[in-house]
């Protein structure tokens, strides 16, 4: 006479006994999907609930009630919000983000091209900044509280305080205007060769690296220090294990999770940094597309970009959590 819910619970419990890891990962995946769905509601319905109207803004001074009603009917804004939400969600699931209000062109077409550009930029920035940050973090720990650590500390504190666009313009003034070795603006075209493309993104990549490097390095330093100062490292030292062996056998497995966590968090930061950097360097990516759409209140584009940025962010956070679960057996058996 077991009701379905109890049966599901029993199955889950049995699975958890036999495959604890897969169940936890599946749960984390499910949570991310749930979060993404909630975000889609927030971005669509929450925004619709705010005051302000595209039709009125679009028409400006010449807004007669009749003209406003016509535009609203054209865009389908006169239908109930739940209908529109489910239509939108249905489209999104199939990769269709609807048409731009401003240009009438399909949003998906623009986004696929621009998302590729943005990911290209973010990929190079990550490929440079991650090893550099982890390396510098280790250097800082090695020389802890001595001169190299202090220098790195002060420099990174300064770097955290610099706005992204300021770093970008300083690089432009220095490398593009005064020395003439870099290209600006960093516009990329379809028929550009690979090397031209790389030359175009050199400065935006450098800016993004500087934006995330300081954060990532400070957090890596803190993560390594917390592992190195734990009791088992002292035990390893006391039982006569060499420094290298102690690090490989005891410190590294415990430091992976926090470091991967730091990296994933900062890659998420990269996603946001991309928006400003693309505007500074006139780079045709998602960020610029979104900012342009916000200024003309082109809601389908804004919602599509917002959802994609949020999805990337949620995905990266999920990866961080899953790696932490895999690397740290203690998290598999929460008390």
């Amino acid at each position: 006479m077991a009701n379905p819910l109890a049966r599901v619970r029993a199955t889950r419990h049995r699975l958890k006994e036999t495959h604890p890891l897969s169940v936890l990962i599946a749960e984390r995946l499910g949570l991310s999907l749930l979060l993404l769905w909630a975000v889609s509601i927030l971005i669509f319905a929450g925004v619709e609930a705010l005051p302000g109207d595209f039709a009125e803004t679009y028409l400006g001074q010449s807004a007669t009630p009749q003209a406003i009603a016509n535009i609203r009917a054209d865009l389908g804004l006169d239908r109930p919000i739940t209908t529109r939400y489910f239509e939108w969600l249905g489209g999104v699931v199939q990769g269709d983000f609807g048409n731009s209000w401003a240009s009438g062109a399909p949003v998906t077409e623009q986004i696929t091209k621009r998302l590729g550009n943005s990911l290209f930029l973010a990929f190079f920035a990550a490929a440079i900044s991650v090893p550099l940050a982890v390396g510098l973090g280790m250097v800082a720990v090695h020389y802890r509280n001595r001169i190299p650590d202090r220098v790195i500390n002060v420099l990174s504190l300064a770097a955290i305080s610099l706005p992204e666009f300021f770093i970008g313009y300083i690089l432009i003034v220095f490398f593009a205007v005064q020395m003439g070795v870099a290209t600006f603006p960093s516009t990329v075209y379809d028929n550009m060769s690979w090397s031209e493309r790389l030359a175009a993104i050199a400065l935006p990549t450098a800016t993004l690296v500087m934006v995330v490097l300081a954060h990532m390095m400070r957090m890596t330093r803190a993560a390594i220090i917390s592992v190195m100062s734990s009791a088992y490292m002292e035990t390893a030292e006391l039982k006569g294990l060499g420094a290298f062996k102690a690090i490989v056998k005891h410190a590294a497995p415990n430091a992976i999770a926090p470091i991967v966590n730091v990296v994933a968090l900062n890659l998420a930061y990269l996603v946001v940094g991309v928006v400003v950097v693309e505007v500074v360097f006139v780079y045709p990516g998602m960020g610029q597309y979104m900012v342009d759409a916000v200024t003309v209140r082109d809601m389908p584009v804004v919602q599509a970009c917002g959802l994609i940025f949020a999805a990337v962010y949620i995905l990266l956070n999920m990866v961080a959590d899953i790696v932490a679960i895999v690397a740290n057996p203690r998290l598999r058996h929460p008390r």
Binding site: A38, S161, V177, Y269
Partner: protein
């Protein structure tokens, strides 16, 4: 606490912040020209008349910088104070009440934090009318999620202390417990967090203004001034770098003070990293 124990970096930070506030308060007295007054040609170089040169419309850059301090400081300060009030009030309420109120508020907070702040702000500002109070409110509400997370963690530590229990047994109300028992005992870490939020607000406001979605022209504001003058950079005119440098210097000053506050309250829980 003795004044001598304050490290040199913190002193530099405090003096820098005071200087910026001085400029903001006495702007009409110090500024050589008016905020919107066109005094000379476009992008004139620095001279005795115009100490930092002129901007893209021929307005005196130094005067705009001084007036810009008013807007930038006022909006970021207002946003951080509001964000703090919202975050602390909700997080303490959650920590003291527990149960469904805590669950509801915390899950809502998780949801809000799962969208990057700048992206969320862009989505919201695309709909809302452009006006300075709405801007402050949006910045404050988005930022309060970070305050909430820290505030709840700190308050939970204090809420289980004996003196809170004693106050509950005495029959004090929830508001008394929040404001008279928990708040005074969490002030130290919260003060450091306030500094962090203030630095973040300055950078966030500047970024929004730079993207053209923050303070609207012709009002002067440092981020907006970078936007106004950015086209000159390609011609070797560095007017955009001056307000940009001012933002950076102010943020560095605030961070230096925060660094000292954080070291004093090493028990602080919560990350520096912010998105």
């Amino acid at each position: 606490m003795r004044l001598r124990e304050i490290p040199l970096t913190a002193w530099i930070g405090i003096l820098g912040i005071l200087f910026a506030f001085g400029c903001a308060v006495f702007a009409p007295l110090i500024a050589p020209y008016g905020e919107r007054e066109i005094v000379a040609g476009v992008w004139e170089p620095a001279s005795d008349l115009y100490l930092l040169g002129t901007d893209n419309l021929g307005r005196d850059l130094l005067s705009r910088l001084i007036y810009g301090a008013q807007t930038t400081l006022f909006v970021s300060l207002a946003a951080s104070i509001l964000s703090f009030s919202i975050g602390i009030f909700l997080s303490f309420t959650a920590a003291v009440s527990g149960g469904p109120i805590d669950q509801g508020l915390s899950r809502l907070n998780d949801l809000m934090m799962s969208i990057p702040t700048l992206i969320f702000a862009l989505v919201v500002l695309a709909v809302l009318p452009q006006n300075i109070f709405i801007l402050i409110a949006v910045m404050a509400i988005l930022d309060s999620t970070r305050v909430y997370r820290l505030g709840r963690a700190v308050a939970l530590d204090v809420a289980v202390m004996e003196f809170v229990e004693a106050a509950k047994l005495r029959g004090e109300g929830r508001m008394w417990i929040i404001f008279r028992e928990i708040l005074p005992n969490t002030l130290s870490p919260l003060l450091a967090e306030f500094g962090l939020r203030f630095a973040f607000s300055i950078l966030f406001l500047s970024t929004l203004s730079f993207l053209g979605l923050g303070i609207q022209p012709p009002a002067a504001d440092w981020g907006g001034m970078v936007k106004d003058n950015k086209d000159g950079i390609i011609f070797g005119i560095q007017a955009a770098l001056i307000p940009g440098g001012a933002i950076a210097a102010l943020a560095v000053c605030v961070n230096m003070v925060v660094d000292w506050l954080l070291k004093r309250t090493s028990s602080l829980k919560g990350g520096r990293g912010d998105v």
